[in-house]
């Protein structure tokens, strides 16, 4: 059980922290957001240079083979500074889905690690978070596959160059057997992309596919487990982001209640305010402990699925509660764009939804511990 970073991880953490302070200081946030895709592209190139993008990619595939704890070192900083770069989607989830997928995947992953290509996972249909609740079809014609179907939500998919699309080569919606995974370039014929912005400034999309040429990844008909294992990695990374964001929100709130004067005293001198900040910090501790145990368990290779489901639920509950309370204790100014706390709230709300909300994972936990 590892609760402290080793030297290397600590250096990584410090480097992310510096980057966050330089590039995403709370005071400059609105300016950064206004830069849009250009800013993201610039920062993405820097992150590639720093080696972060290739960190989670396996060594055999040209990466650094970083594990959940290294990713945690990065993602806490991403959360603290609310960076909108889609590190988890492109650098954690996509590589986890593609690893061992053969030469084509290895070549693409190298480009991912170099920041030249972004790949997003298109797994969700029909408004459900369940990986097996899909009905998109992949038909084999000779050795080639054609995809037809609709993916309602692709996390961070708006600016992707490739999509990893789950589709059925067999089985009925709800069944785990018969699910396969395919690569589709964003310019493919028959592919229509609708792009959306979320309240946390992440950029997503939905896909409509009609007879789209696709390249299979992994074993045909047997990728449900692989998808869930990859999602678990993405979820743990997101939890580290959530914890970083929570701790930043608490720190901002502590600063505020210590200085904001009302009724002739700092509001932090009122007992009710104190106890609320205490509950926020307890929630942080709860989320951090869960996140670290989950990362550690994942790193050790043991079965972590029910633990991760539990942690996903609780971190989301704690994260939303902390961010809501941060806004509340700031009063009116907490709801303004200019202050950072409402940005934390929006990110926490969206992190809850990414790869399955609290209810989805609560039901999953109940099923796994039945």
């Amino acid at each position: 059980m590892q609760f402290a970073f080793n030297d290397e991880q600590q250096m990584l953490r410090d480097s992310v922290e510096r980057f966050g302070e330089d590039e995403w200081s709370a005071a400059d946030r609105l300016k950064r957001l206004a830069e849009g895709r250009e800013g993201t592209a610039r920062r993405w190139a820097q992150m590639a240079e720093l080696g972060w993008l290739m960190l989670p990619i396996a060594e055999e595939e040209g990466g650094l083979g970083g594990g959940p704890v290294e990713i945690m070192a990065i993602m806490e900083g991403v959360g603290r500074h609310l960076m909108t770069e889609a590190y988890v989607s492109h650098c954690v989830l996509a590589p986890a889905l593609m690893t061992g997928g053969g030469d084509h995947c290895a070549a693409l992953l190298e480009q991912v690690g170099a920041g030249q290509v972004r790949i997003a996972a298109a797994l969700i249909e029909d408004d459900d978070f369940d990986v097996a609740a899909i009905s998109a079809r992949a038909s084999a014609i000779d050795d080639r596959f054609k995809l037809t179907g609709t993916k309602t939500h692709v996390e961070d998919g708006a600016d992707a160059d490739w999509y990893l699309v789950s589709a059925r080569t067999g089985g009925a919606p709800g069944e785990r057997a018969g699910i396969s995974l395919f690569l589709v370039p964003s310019g493919a014929e028959g592919l229509a992309i609708q792009r959306f912005r979320a309240v946390d400034s992440h950029r997503h999309c939905s896909l409509d596919l009609v007879d789209v040429d696709a390249i299979p990844v992994g074993v045909i008909g047997e990728v449900a487990d692989r998808i869930e294992a990859a999602l678990d990695r993405a979820i743990v990374a997101h939890m580290a982001e959530a914890v970083g964001s929570m701790e930043a929100a608490v720190a901002a709130t502590l600063d505020y209640v210590r200085t904001r004067q009302q009724f002739g005293a700092p509001i932090g001198s009122f007992q009710v305010v104190q106890h609320k900040v205490v509950d926020m910090s307890v929630a942080c501790e709860e989320a951090r402990a869960l996140m670290m145990v989950a990362a550690s368990q994942l790193a050790s290779g043991g079965d972590a699925s029910s633990l991760i489901a539990a942690a996903k639920v609780r971190v989301a509950q704690c994260g939303i509660a902390v961010a809501q309370q941060a806004v509340q204790l700031h009063g009116g100014v907490g709801t303004s764009e200019e202050l950072i706390v409402s940005h934390h709230l929006r990110r926490q709300m969206m992190l809850d939804l990414a790869h399955g909300d609290r209810d989805h994972h609560k039901a999953r936990f109940a099923e796994l511990t039945r």
Partner: protein
Amino acid sequence: MNLDLAPEDREFQQDVRDFFANSIPEDWKKTVRAGLRLSPENLVAYQRRLADRGWGAPTWPKEYGGTGWTPQQLHIFWSEASAADAPAQFHQGLELIGPIIFTYGSQAQKDYYLPRIISGEDWWCQGYSEPGAGSDLAALRTRADRDGDDYVINGHKMWTSYAHVADRMFILARTSNEGRRQQGISLILVDMDTPGIRISPIHTLDEKHHTNEVFLDDVRVPATNIVGEEGMGWNYGKVLLDRERMVAAATAMFLPQTLRAVREAATRRRTAYGLLIDKPEFRAKLAQVEIEAVAVQAMVLRLMADAAAGADSGPRGSMVKLRWSELTQQATALWVEALGPKAQHFAALGDESELPDDMPFALKGALYARVTTIYGGSSEIQRNIIARRALGL
């Protein structure tokens, strides 16, 4: 909640129902259900329609152009408005400055301002909060200095909702620095086109522009624009205490609108289980919020009965505010939940493809709802008030 109605009330109910059946465009309804305010133009249009029907000021006495309705009638009116997805009327003129003017204002003020509030001709905003004076309003620093027949106002107001569309503003300003902090504060009416007023929008998390900072630099208004006596402005707020229960009651009665929106979204959402609305865990959560909303409706009925009996409601107005605001937050959060993965699609990028109607509304509603436990006396302040006034602690 069905009520036992007297025949004349039943008739009135039918009148109101008929009116609303034809008065609320579909596109207003979506906004309304999210607990969001209509655009100012639409709110004014709505106010005009009501005024044309003679119902512009439902809570005002007849002599000032109000309806003179009984609390029972008011309850019927709001119930029907809520059921028809009509909006709540914008309250800063009607419920805040209007009653102060008809209670403490000069005859000239009454004659000029009151009809313009009812007709929707004047939109009022409230200049109370300041950067250093939020929950602790008595810390305000805006000054109004007497200069001949005028006051010259200097200061910086915050959270002035709709200052950017308002015609007039009522402000609290310090006309003296002596005595207790609450003394020496005056209530002054200001035309928004007076030179020296600068409005700066405050952008908020729901991405709607509804509130502002207002900077006042040597803003010169006639001394006759003061309401009542100089230095007594703080006290005039008291007339509002009694009326606040009406604002709280009216607002709370519109809660079922949001719950209907949640139901609709959950009825549309397909999941692996089937429709979300049929999923037992979701039904239990929705039932919990609906049950609490029933409780708040019952609390409102008690408030109205108090009002009908001319009785003091004690802290019940504050209690309704507390519970209503918490429930709005819960209901809009549940609405976001009901959308599922699509809740991450807040705005279309690039080509203006169609978004589902309720999608940004659910999120705007959930984000906007965070301010309901802050404005109009935060939940913390409401609890302080109840502890002191009602429980004597």
